[in-house]
């Protein structure tokens, strides 16, 4: 599929898709004229990328992480994360954990205010 369709199906702007490619997160074939042509699996990959962005990972970390995922669906076996990467990801995991805790606390704060206004 081309970039417009991928953008629609993932709700991610064409601008961002090109950015992902430049950051090495997303690959595409090119038509003879230079237009990007995406495999079907790109949809899942873009969604995954968005999730990881939402989790606060920067594009560099995502780029390292992606080859180790098993959802590639392009026949390539997932790489095994290097010890160094595992350490990085463990740190990220802890950060995400803390973030979840903070989000829950904040949600509770909102709930309190909402409830005291409604109840």
């Amino acid at each position: 599929m081309r970039i417009g369709e991928l953008a629609q199906r993932t709700a991610v702007s064409e601008r961002s898709l090109r950015y992902y490619e430049k950051q090495g997160l997303l690959t595409s074939e090119r038509t003879p004229g230079g237009h990007r042509e995406y495999a079907e699996s790109a949809v899942d990959r873009v969604i995954r990328i968005q999730e990881l962005f939402a989790a606060g990972l920067c594009s560099a970390k995502i780029a390292q992480l992606l080859p180790c995922l098993r959802d590639t669906a392009d026949g390539a076996a997932p790489e095994t994360a290097s010890p160094w990467l595992v350490e990085q990801l463990t740190t990220e995991r802890e950060r995400i954990d803390r973030m979840i805790g903070e989000l829950i606390r904040s949600r509770n704060v909102l709930d309190e205010v909402i409830e005291s206004a409604i109840g």
Copy 2:
């Protein structure tokens, strides 16, 4: 206490504390010479502000929300949120909910990679 101590105790930079004040999130008395003097309750407030920032609320929303909290400890009774504010906060609540879901998904992704490398 003065700004340096508050910064240390909250692990928030002096720069950010001044920014919070300019955004109406934090108040301080001033010494005759113009230096900020904070009440003890500022510590809790700053930590709460940081949590709300971490939850993705912008300073404007936080400024509206803070008067409705009951932890002020400065004798002021908490305000009741206006219907408009309740609507805003409900939207934020939903956003936070979605974000928590994404974070959990991302954490699972990391766990998979980590486990497959370690196990």
